[in-house]
């Protein structure tokens, strides 16, 4: 059976895309996995100027997940352009863009679009500054509009699980964006019992991992229900092929994997092979599974 998916005119050989962030710009990841194996690779977020990132600790171990506070460390768009040309061509190249103001996003988008098959607009980094862009609807509109203005490439709005996904999706659709990534890691914190202070200097971090999957699955389901024509990347807590199928059933056309690939990049091979076996057993193409739970399931 066929694993391929077409999203906003771009063909993915399978629905697996990497999440922006935990795999950097791919140089280490692709030592373990051939780009021919995955559907798409999403780069770490690129901003106009270099960002040093947050003071350690940047990682907190949790049962069934982790809290990160990396802080969008990246070399800035000019340096990135030297790396961008070497991104693998054997999978869909998604470049994640970030910034603070609409003009930041527009600047990075216009500078990297020639290297990208798709551009993901990071509206929702959980651990820089005070608020996410997603929490400011007017700013979100301006950011999306500014990116739409400077490129014809497909855009992805990466939204925040901390903000109503339906409002964020509506804003994306109105801005001419046809794909939403649901979503970034959700904000959370832990307190050090020995010091009585938060573990992280920025107090909050982004929670990812399997504990988080039902939260995102529900958001994917709601958005697909409200906006059936919107394409969704479901991202949060995926460990295996069964999780991917569950996300597809909820309405995801593509499924992002971050933490799982970070702790075991080689598992990509097993997950793709397992997914193929599972849809062969179901005797269904992957595309037919998308949103099936909204259509009464297997009947």
């Amino acid at each position: 059976m066929d694993l391929s998916v077409i999203v906003d005119g771009v063909k993915f050989k399978n629905p697996i895309v990497t999440a922006s962030g935990p795999l950097g710009f791919g140089d280490e990841f692709f030592k373990y996995v051939s780009a021919e194996k995955i559907g798409g690779f999403t780069t770490k977020t690129v901003t106009p100027k270099p960002i040093q990132g947050n003071i350690p600790p940047r990682i907190l171990y949790l049962e069934n997940g982790l809290l990160n506070s990396i802080g969008l460390q990246n070399p800035g768009v000019e340096k990135f352009k030297e790396i961008a040309a070497s991104l693998p061509k054997e999978c869909v190249k998604i470049i994640s863009v970030g910034g603070e103001r609409p003009e930041d996003f527009a600047e990075v988008t216009s500078k990297i679009e020639e290297f990208a098959d798709m551009i993901e607009i990071n509206l929702s980094c959980p651990n820089i500054g005070g608020k996410t862009i997603s929490s400011d609807f007017e700013l979100t509109k301006s950011v999306l509009a500014s990116c739409r203005e400077v490129t014809k490439k497909p855009l992805i709005a990466k939204i925040s699980p901390d903000v109503d996904p339906l409002i964020q999706s509506r804003i994306a659709i109105d801005a001419g964006v046809k794909i939403v990534n649901i979503g970034n890691s959700i904000q959370g914190m832990r307190i050090n019992l020995k010091t009585g202070r938060p573990f992280l200097k920025g107090v909050k971090g982004g929670l990812s991992g399997p504990a988080f999957m039902p939260v995102i699955l529900w958001k994917v389901y709601q958005v697909k229900d409200a906006f059936p024509d919107l394409s969704i990347i479901g991202l949060g807590g995926v460990r295996n092929a069964s999780d991917i199928i569950e996300y597809a059933m909820a309405g995801s056309s593509l499924v992002g994997i971050g933490t799982q690939f970070m702790i075991n990049p080689s598992s990509a091979v097993r997950i793709v092979d397992d997914l193929q076996n599972k849809i062969d057993s179901l005797k269904m193409n992957f595309a037919d599974l998308i949103g099936i739970s909204h259509r009464g399931g297997f009947i």
Partner: protein
């Protein structure tokens, strides 16, 4: 195989391993039941088809080690430099990479600090070394050493003291930081150096003391 210290505060985990590893390198360890994020551990020993790790009890991994198959990945990180007659300094389970270094390259002088006698009784310590116990710290002994080449591994406060006292010499510090990928991808295990942000897993875990900013952390 799992061996526990007298009061159970420390564990030596022995695993079959026919591959290579050098002192200073580390592996990530988890089990089929968890923890979800594999934990990094320096190699304590490697010989006769067996690799050993020294683990402080109380971490999440401990509850799984007796119950499920261990999953090990590595080696990661860069090996320690092979130095002439080095002064080796350790604090607590920071003794692990020092022990492996000694077994491979020997040493000039060794000063090992322990919170109590339980860990001292549990690990192999060369006879010609100095061991100190709380409240005495290694720094009170090593300040009398005249050796030029130094390697230190232990809690961050100990590393700060060593750098303050001996930072003018050829001092290498084995750094520890929470990490997730162990491969230089996720940028979780950041340290600040004179050349900007580097990562313990990929650029370390050993750094020249003169190049690393030990104050760039939030504790």
């Amino acid at each position: 195989m799992l061996k526990r210290s007298a009061k159970g505060s420390y564990i030596l985990l022995d695993l079959p391993y026919e591959g290579k590893a050098l002192p200073g390198q580390f592996f990530t360890i988890t089990t089929s039941l968890g923890p979800y994020i594999p934990r990094p551990f320096s190699v304590y020993d490697l010989k006769d088809g067996k690799i050993s790790f020294l683990i402080k009890s109380g971490g999440e991994i401990e509850k799984f080690l007796d119950r499920a198959p261990v999953i090990m990945n590595g080696p990661f990180g860069n090996p320690l430099p092979e130095l002439k007659d080095p002064l080796l300094i350790s604090g607590g389970v920071g003794y692990a990479p020092i022990h492996f270094y000694i077994s491979k390259y020997g040493f000039g002088e060794l000063v090992a600090g322990f919170a109590d006698e339980e860990l001292f009784d549990f690990v192999d310590i060369p006879g010609s070394s100095v061991s100190v116990f709380d409240p005495t710290t290694p720094i009170e002994i090593v300040k009398f050493s005249t050796l030029e080449n130094i390697i230190a591994c232990g809690p961050i406060e100990m590393l700060k003291s060593v750098k303050k006292a001996l930072g003018q010499r050829s001092l290498y510090l084995i750094m520890e930081e929470k990490m997730a990928c162990a491969r230089g991808m996720c940028e979780g295990c950041a340290v600040m150096t004179s050349d900007g942000v580097k990562f313990v897993c990929k650029d370390g875990p050993t750094f020249k003391a003169s190049e690393v900013d030990l104050e760039w952390t939030y504790l």
